[in-house]
Amino acid sequence: MSGFFQQVVLGLGSGAIYASLALALVLIYRFTDIVNFAQGELAMFSTYIAWQLTAAGVPFWLALPITLAVSFLGGVLIERLVIRPFEGGPELTVVIVTVGLFVFVNALAGLIWSFLVKSVPSPFPDGALDVGGVNISLQTLGTLGVVAAVMGLLFLLFQKTKIGLAMRAVANDPASARLVGIRVGRVLALGWGLSATVGAISGILVAPVLFLDPNLMGGVLVYAFAAATLGGFDSPVGAVVGGLIVGVAETLSGAYVDAIGSDLKIGVPLAIIVVVLLVRPRGLFGHAVVERV
């Protein structure tokens, strides 16, 4: 039985990784109403910044805030320079631009830092807790803790602040928001900046486990999309719950369903996306889109 729980813990570990990136996806969706395919690559790029700082001798706890600040500014800049020209155009255009950004950022990181694997220091100590024969690594516990904290902060931001209100107004109807005096451009830039920051946290959390190279987030992004779809693309709580469910489902089906094994594990998130979209398109915690006609 402890074997089973061990698999569940492993699943929660991967789930926390997926959830951390899913949070950034949810955040940008709430702010700008688009799905950002480049989110994972931006997170990867931020992680390289953190790596570069620590490799140059900056202590980790100083490198962290610098990285987050640089990521925020980077996100704002991308919104101003790359996304702004397409503002007000069809959503699909912006989504395609993010796909282009995905390819570009990946190639740029390869150009600057090469494709050799780098190791990123972990903010958490090595080692593991042994609970009734089940091994829980401190890395997993730490990641879960940070993901929960980010989730809580986002929830507060969305529900309890004026920015959250402005943001919801902009995502809902930019024209009306502008008419009531909201600076739409600033809100969008803030959305890109904040989601880049949350992405940076995600990258720094996962890189010690996955090892840093320019394809750090390529695989994670698919699972993060599944997590956000399952939980509801507009809900931070949903993103985390969705991430954990996807992680556990994937690990358990890989371990116990012979027909799936480790070959078809990647199919599990796809199956989840399809089923959720068919049965409950808004996700477990998402809100149905209501439009007055």
Partner: protein, 427 residues
């Protein structure tokens, strides 16, 4: 409106006519390109890209993209040819021009570059394409064109055993040979042991795993757990945990660099399972071990076949000294301690030695020469590792030596294992 329309039609017609003219011109030139030897014993053989004073070779490597670490190899190759040209009068009096193209490890791009090298640059031969996917994508083309594609930089076993592609040949020990070395080691040193395998679910991983399974058939070594991963998987942690449950005595790690690092780190983190860890040659590079932390990879096993430039044992070795001196002279930016430069140097030396014994300075001559190498010694290969090929044997190097990681580097141990002698020829 109507006028515009007519004009467009006329324009199109002119363009089409022009295109037709260009195509005809091209095809005419295409027919004319295949120069042949006019007299002597080599009469009728192709002499494209080669004269009495020059030879043009083309190589395709991933200079950009995910596998660009291998982009260092052509620097070693080029340094070797530059050294030959400047100090040895070239290859049998021919100055070697080595043209390097980038395919970003993408098979369609490799095909495009192969066509450019053969049709536009009119190279004598393709000297190295890198990677199993890119080589697989190009070998039908090179063999249709009857262009030698020699010493491809991939360990897949299909280059050697295939009868339909006589113009293509590998170089480094193939994955099956490598698997045989591990099988022999386990059978002798760990009889009765059980093995857990992690492998990449593609040509590379399956080639090595199949080779290992065949090599332990009927022997006292048994695989009790196997897990695969896709290159798109974020991590191999779950697979490692499943393998740990098997409690196998030996862990065979068949991965590419990033996943190699992950598996090494995971093995260290799982304290309840401490198998003898064998990591395949592809993931045994220092650039894989260093990110994990050298403390965590002590005692790991692997195998090798050429001299490691950082190994102090070779400090006074004449071949190593020549390599370091000439690389510093002809490729000053290249780090001589990088093993990929040494690899490029050794494979270029193999080409020089193969061509030196070619009966005809023609494409056919090269094709036959690389398949008739009898125990040829190559610079920078380990003592006891030589090149051996035959008309039906397209596997130049099939000997390797085991090594163990100790302190800050790999230490070789035991004898060089000639898998051909131990297991018979590959088919």
């Amino acid at each position: 409106m109507n006028k515009v329309h007519t004009r467009t039609v006329r324009g199109l017609a002119v363009a089409a006519a022009g295109l037709l003219a260009v195509t005809t011109a091209c095809s005419q030139r295409g027919e004319g390109q295949g120069g042949t030897a006019e007299s002597g014993p080599c009469q009728g053989q192709q002499t494209t890209g080669i004269t009495d004073t020059s030879m043009k070779l083309g190589g395709i490597y991933p200079l950009s993209g995910p596998a660009s670490a291998y982009g260092e190899i052509p620097k070693g190759v080029k340094a070797y040819f530059d050294y030959l040209n400047a100090e040895k009068g070239g290859l049998k009096g021919r100055k070697v021009e080595f043209i390097v193209r980038d395919d970003s490890y993408s098979p369609p791009k490799a095909v495009e570059e192969a066509r450019r090298l053969v049709e536009q640059e009119q190279v004598f031969a393709l000297f190295q394409t890198l990677g199993t996917p890119s080589t697989t994508a190009t070998w039908d083309y090179t063999n249709q064109q009857k262009v030698p594609q020699v010493f491809v930089a991939t360990g897949a076993s299909k280059w050697g055993a295939d009868k339909n592609h006589p113009w293509t040949i590998g170089w480094q020990p193939n994955y099956v040979s490598e698997a045989r070395v591990y099988a022999k080691y386990l059978q002798e040193e760990k009889p009765g042991s059980t093995v857990a395998v992690l492998y990449q679910n593609d040509d590379f991983g399956k080639d090595l795993l199949d080779g290992f399974e065949k090599a332990i058939e009927g022997k006292d070594v048994k695989i009790i757990a196997r897990q695969s991963y896709e290159v798109t998987d974020p991590s191999v942690q779950a697979q490692m945990r499943n393998l740990a449950n098997s409690k196998a005595d030996v862990f065979l790690n068949i991965t590419t660099p990033k996943f190699g690092s992950q598996a090494l780190a995971a093995d260290d983190a799982i304290t309840s399972w401490n198998p003898l860890h064998i990591v395949n040659n592809v993931a045994a590079a220092m650039s894989v071990l260093r990110p994990v932390g050298l403390k965590k990879v002590q005692g790991k096993l692997s195998s090798t076949y050429y001299k490691d430039p950082v190994d102090p044992q070779w400090a006074d070795d004449p071949e190593m000294k020549l390599y370091k001196e000439k690389l510093a002279k002809y490729a000053p930016q290249a780090d001589p301690e990088d093993q990929y430069h040494a690899f490029g140097w050794a494979v270029a030396d193999s080409f020089a030695k193969a061509f030196a014994q070619a009966k005809c300075p023609t494409r056919e001559g090269l094709r036959d020469a690389v398949r008739s190498m009898n125990n040829v010694k190559i610079n920078m290969l380990l003592p006891g590792v030589t090149m051996q090929t035959g008309p039906d044997d397209g596997f130049p190097i099939e000997s390797m030596q085991m090594m163990e990681f100790e302190g800050e580097r790999w230490k070789r141990f035991g004898d060089v294992i000639d898998t051909r002698k131990e297991f018979g020829p590959l088919t």
